[in-house]
Symmetry: C2
Subunit: 140 residues, 2 copies
């Protein structure tokens, strides 16, 4: 099968708080929204924020939990971009999980939780490239 | 900030079982692996499967839970591709969450959990395009 993920869907309790975090914090624009879901066109795939009850039912599950065992990362072009990006997310309803630091594998990164406790790592990783269109390529 | 996700990281209990699901089930190839993480270069971003304890510690959390309130989707080119893809994932250690059906918003989709209970929707969605390089574009 194609090495491809089409959608990342995050379960959300309150759609308005989530939308504020992504639109004001990250500065992203939805490509579609209604009363239960907001979709964002991302770099090669779609990010969806969907009412948690609907996501659970759609995936055939009685219960899903937050914080889940997953994290998303947004890489920034420079080390100096990490703290301002985190500050902006915190002003838009995020919660600090971990202040920026230098991890063992290099770079500079911190974590912010979105209003639904989904972890976002904001990272500068000089070995990974970010294309102008947003495509991120692994590097060592 | 760029409308971009760099990494999706899934917390994993047993790296070998997870690797088998992604390499034999999806047929994907790692771009990097060591004793605690496997990275896959995806369509514009990187998928990481990382030991759950390491992910929790890195993100400044005492505990993270499975199944989490999130799902990933892999879209296939044709309706007839959904069931064979799910069958292959089930043979590689996946667990059926929901047999394929026609959701209200159209298409044909089912759900399989990976060995760590992360939900994967396998979907045919004729309104969303999939480029030869894997870029998926939202459509209505």
């Amino acid at each position: 099968m194609q090495q491809q993920v089409s959608v990342i869907t995050l379960g959300v309790g309150d759609l308005a708080s989530s939308r504020r975090f992504y639109c004001e914090g990250f500065g992203w624009s939805p490509v579609f929204e209604n009363a239960e879901i907001v979709f964002y066109q991302m770099n090669g795939f779609v990010l969806g924020t969907w009412l948690e009850s609907a996501l659970a039912a759609d995936s055939g599950r009685a219960a899903i939990h937050r914080p889940g065992a997953h994290a998303l990362a947004h890489n920034v072009p420079a080390r100096a971009d990490v703290q301002p990006a985190m500050d902006r997310l915190l002003r838009a309803g995020g919660r600090l999980l971990k202040a920026p630091a230098e991890p063992a594998h290099g770079g500079f990164a911190g974590y912010v939780a979105d209003p639904d406790d989904h972890a976002w790592e904001i990272a500068w990783n000089p070995r990974w490239s970010i294309a102008p269109d947003g495509r991120v390529t692994f590097g060592t």
